[in-house]
Amino acid sequence: MRSSRALRDVAIAAIALIVVLAIPLLHRSPAFEDFIIRLSAMALFATSLNLLVGNTGMVSFGHGMFYGLGAYAFALTMQMTELSLPVAAALAILITTAAAFCVGAICVRLGTDYFAFITLAMQMLFYSIIISWQTLTGGDQGLRGGIPRREIFGFELASQLHLYQFCAIVAVLGLLALRHVSASPFGQTLRMIRDNENRASFLGIVLWRARLGAFTIAGAFAGLGGVLAALFVSGAYPELADWPNSGQAIFAVMLGGINSFLGPVLGAMILLALNDVVTRFTEYQGLVLGIVILAFALGLRRGVLDFLKFAFPGRSR
């Protein structure tokens, strides 16, 4: 039963990857390719957040901290050392994971309401450190000068096509890994904690350990998203670690569906596509985006994928 689901997940991932990689062979559209590159980063970011929000019931307002840390750690390592790209990326994710572990160890002790506020405070502190430590991070101007040595396993990441392919592969593999975590017994434990933490506790589950594990894993994958974001802008900017960015991830999760694994991906798609489309036609993007969000929130009352599952109940997942 479990292995057939795992097999099905891998099959879906493979098909999605093949489709995405095939598109540029048929028609080159730079805007679409930029869209997929940014979607890769944001999909990992939002889905990792949902490991906390949807699966464990831990609302984190500060998740952008790890996205930004991943971006900065990667970009700084590339600029300041001679390490190759895969090593620098691995190092960045390692640093982000360690940071998530430390921050999580401090924060998960708190009850769910206050958890949101303290994660927000942590992120704002991190952001003000980035802005203040101008000599290291460039302050509000970010890391300038670009990321050098953008090659990995034959991909020349300065080329848009190669970056597109690389990001698509990394995103699909990353999402598959997150899916594996979510579907595993550990993931089920998390959902049990979300639904009734007392019952979980009576069953012998150590709550804080599970929560810390979820927080750390979520932070790690957010860091991976940050690495992709850094590659897109060829640098790192404080906006990646600012709390409105955390908000974007939350909105992606809510728009797409908090109870569906691919919900955050869909939500990220909607937000990015709206942004790209609306900016071409009007400068009043906020107005349009706000109205669309209201329509979704008031009309559907839940994320799109959740709504579809609700409206067309069929196969149980």
């Binding site: 805007a31 940014r38 101007q141 900017y237 067309f312």
Partner: protein, 412 residues
């Protein structure tokens, strides 16, 4: 069950084609599209809107004169909201999908650096940065890009100009105790440091008794104002601008700050002067844009035309974008092509006539940045022309000191 799948599929297909629409590029061969991106919303929206206003005027003027290479020009405006990753995306979209053959980047500094990387990667179009005053964009050879140029005032130029004027004034009035109050971000910190470095170089008697660093957009300056007042400086240098400067002036007024010290605020733009109802007289400021400086008919005519068309006065960003178009006009005529390498070669070292030049000309140097634009310093008055007793700067001196400063930072 199958009906549901069909409905879902149709919904998905329809949505996909709707979303795919913007990614299929539109073409209109003869019009020359020029991409312009800036901050058109938020507290410093004035930066973008006044740039756009100026560019619209240039579009009309240039098209009336036949356009570029016989083709009419058309601007495509985009708002990046001041977000660097959005700025990068927009720059790529303008070039790759919207068919822009030239770029005018009117972003503030962080957006400019992001776009510099895009220019470095693309290398296929020329981009002129306006509005970004951070020197390292062009001064640092590691950050310079082959097809990117800057038409803007530069922090270090303003710092030398301002410090020269203020050092003299301080010497005359024996103002030795200074305080600073600048926004706490790269522009504020770096430019204030430059001002202080040159001030002390020109007038070694000057000492800084207090410094305050409010955050950009900070609504309440109270604790900063009282800190400054306590140190009892004789003069205050503040690099606050736009809405922040307005709030600071209003809050400073109720503490009678302006009667207790001489204030030097280089960034007093026209709209700030017009918006602040109780603007104290005697604030020392630079001419960001002033209709009466340079005191030429061409300058006055342009300022009046802008006022008439947009019902507000131009800003420093307005003239910078105008000059950017003047450079494009001259360079395209010289190179007779839009091809990036040739056009870049034409721009490098180019000298043009401009109403905004200190002596009627502005030059684009080899390091891709402009010099010889008009800078003057004077004192504010509540009525027209708002800034009087204007003294022009010595560009020879500015360039000389800029050279030393660049050597100091190992840019050359």
């Amino acid at each position: 069950m199958s009906g549901a799948i069909t409905r879902r599929t149709v919904l998905a297909g329809g949505t996909a084609s709707l979303l795919a629409a913007p990614w299929v590029a539109r073409a209109d061969a003869n019009t020359l599209r020029i991409g312009m991106q800036s901050i058109l919303s938020g507290p410093i929206a004035l930066l973008g809107t006044s740039s756009r206003n100026a560019l619209m005027m240039e579009q009309d003027r240039i098209n009336a004169a036949g356009g570029f290479l016989g083709r009419p020009i058309e601007f495509i405006f985009r708002d990046s909201k001041g977000q660097p990753q959005e700025a990068a995306r927009v720059a790529r979209e303008l070039v790759n999908s919207s068919g822009c053959e030239l770029l005018v980047n009117a972003e503030a500094s962080s957006g400019a650096f992001a776009i510099q990387e895009v220019m470095r990667d693309l290398g296929s179009v020329v981009c002129i940065h306006t509005n970004s005053e951070t020197s390292s964009l062009t001064a640092d050879p590691k950050l310079r890009a082959a097809t990117a140029f800057r038409v803007a005032r530069q922090g270090v130029h303003d710092a030398v100009a301002g410090s020269t004027y203020l050092a003299d004034y301080a010497k005359a009035k024996k103002l030795n105790k200074w305080a600073t109050c600048s926004p706490d971000y790269a522009y504020g910190r770096d430019t204030t440091a430059q001002y202080l470095q040159f001030l002390k170089q020109f007038n070694p008697d000057i000492e800084v008794v207090s410094d305050a660093w409010p955050k950009l957009g900070q609504p309440d300056f109270t604790e900063v104002i009282t800190k400054l007042l306590q140190a009892k400086p004789q003069a205050l240098l503040t690099l606050l601008y736009a809405g922040d400067l307005s709030a600071f002036v209003n809050q400073g007024n109720i503490y009678a700050l302006f009667s207790q010290m001489t204030v030097a605020a280089p960034n007093v733009d026209y709209p700030v002067m017009a918006a602040i109802k109780n603007l104290p007289a005697g604030i020392h400021s630079a001419t960001r844009y002033l209709e009466t400086f340079p005191d030429t008919p061409a300058n006055k005519e342009w300022g009046q035309a802008y006022l008439k068309r947009w019902n507000e006065r131009p800003t420093t960003w307005s003239w910078q974008n105008t000059v950017a178009m003047q450079f494009y006009e001259a360079a395209i005529k010289k190179a007779n092509t839009l091809e990036a390498k040739a056009l870049s070669a034409a721009l490098t070292g180019l000298k043009i006539n401009s109403a905004f030049g200190a002596d009627g000309t502005i030059t684009m140097r080899d390091d891709h940045t402009t010099i010889n634009y008009a800078i003057g310093w004077g004192q504010t008055t509540p009525k027209e022309p708002f800034l009087v007793d204007i003294r022009p700067v010595d560009w020879g001196k500015i360039v000389e000191i800029e050279m030393e400063w660049k050597k100091q930072l190992k840019y050359i």
